[in-house]
Subunit: 237 residues, 2 copies
DNA sequence: CAGTGGTCTAGACCACCGC
DNA sequence: CGGTGGTCTAGACCACTGC
């Protein structure tokens, strides 16, 4: 994508970084700027809209547009949907080993409810302990309805992302997920496998993944060590 | 705001709900539809864009636009910035009492670093235990730089939202926050005050709030009982 | 190739703000 | 009131997809 809007946006960022427009300063009017950049006003406004969403400018109706202080870069973000593998990489870790167990079993109640299937329907349950530097850092349990993943799941050859596997081998693209963030109880068996040190705490992400038609694809429990992973979020009103 | 785009959007949703356009079905082309609704194509596309962001339609370049299954409503969301008071209300609770302590003290290191001030700079530290049904459900600690909140903070009369107070009394509008989600250690003093029952767990939100110019305004630690509050998030690729 | 959505345009008019 | 941003328009041309 190299739309004119994006080009203008980059130019504006460069100009701000170079100090041509300073923080706090008001930009010339949209009509003026669009003529200067030799694009239509709507196109120029497209660039402004992106900058506004990124929090680099403040647009005041009837007043003007102002350059503001850029927000600090965010480390890892929960806003975008990433695979667990990506989260491990973005934590600066290299996944060393992952113990896998795969079984076809009746679906437990919680997963069934979230998936919108009848409790007891057969699902593949994929369980992985993921290690970095020979230490367990994450435990994932995935519930995949057999009726969606019939064949092609008998001898899966993962070395990484389940999202990618599902996408490439089964042609199902996962675009969205509903995530519940919770703190597991200490007596939770799964949680205990990660509690290595006294200062270790564990966070649990319960996620329902949807395909492009918003149909539930699989449900997952991701137990993640909070002394290894950080969870950030930029919230807006 | 009652722009034409929004009106068209509502009409489309109504038509989908009424079954005029069914899930999975392809909509007529944009040109066709815009004529039918008697608006320009760009205006009609504005409505489509909103529906796409809400996950109600799937737009495929060169192919067409399709109605998809609506996502389930989300309970409480972390995506948008709300005050703690709002979070309590949206959990279906009524705040009964809040014990307040306010002191002017040198800023501790972590808060100072996040606020971008020198450790030891004087800050107001506002600490509140918030109760519902006579039980503590949340503990908030707020760090507010004295140089921003000089006067007007000596005898604050809260009964609710700090965000609202800061906005109305001091004229600073808070638009964004960077939030880190973490699990406190069990030996954390603040956390312990909320651990009422064996099945109680506590989640900690560390938040840096920015004004409309992206200047840090205050830093807060919110300890929240996870058996009382749920934390949801809709993630997109 | 025909039909779809994606982008851009030049211009119009409206809504808001400060003087 | 004049200047700003917000919305809408009719039309053009491009990019992608499936046949």
């Amino acid at each position: 994508m190299n739309s004119k809007c994006e080009q203008i946006k980059k130019q504006l960022i460069d100009m701000i970084d170079q100090g041509i427009y300073r923080i706090g300063e008001q930009l010339p009017s949209e009509i003026h700027m669009s003529k200067q950049f030799q694009v239509s006003r709507e196109t120029f406004r497209g660039a402004l809209k992106m900058l506004e969403e990124e929090g680099r400018i403040l647009v005041k109706h009837g007043v003007g547009t102002f350059v503001i202080r850029p927000l600090p870069p965010i480390k890892s973000t929960l806003e975008r949907l990433h695979s667990s593998s990506e989260m491990i990489r973005s934590a600066g870790l290299t996944e060393s080993e992952s113990m896998i167990s795969l079984a076809k079993l009746p679906c437990p109640e919680e997963a069934a409810e979230r998936l919108g299937i009848v409790s007891g329907t057969p699902v593949y349950i994929l369980e992985r302990i993921r290690k970095a530097n020979d230490e367990p850092v994450m435990l994932s349990i995935n519930y995949l309805p057999v009726h969606l993943f019939g064949i092609g799941f008998e001898q899966p050859t993962f070395s990484g992302s389940l999202l990618q596997f599902v996408e490439s081998k089964l042609g199902v693209s996962v675009n969205r997920a509903d995530t519940e963030i919770c703190v597991p109880l200490h007596i939770d068996r799964n949680c205990q496998q990660l509690l290595q040190y006294p200062q270790t705490t564990v966070l649990l992400l319960k996620q329902l993944h949807y395909d492009e038609g918003n149909r539930p694809v699989f449900y997952s429990l991701d137990y993640m060590r909070n002394d290894v992973f950080t969870f950030h979020l930029r919230r807006t009103r």
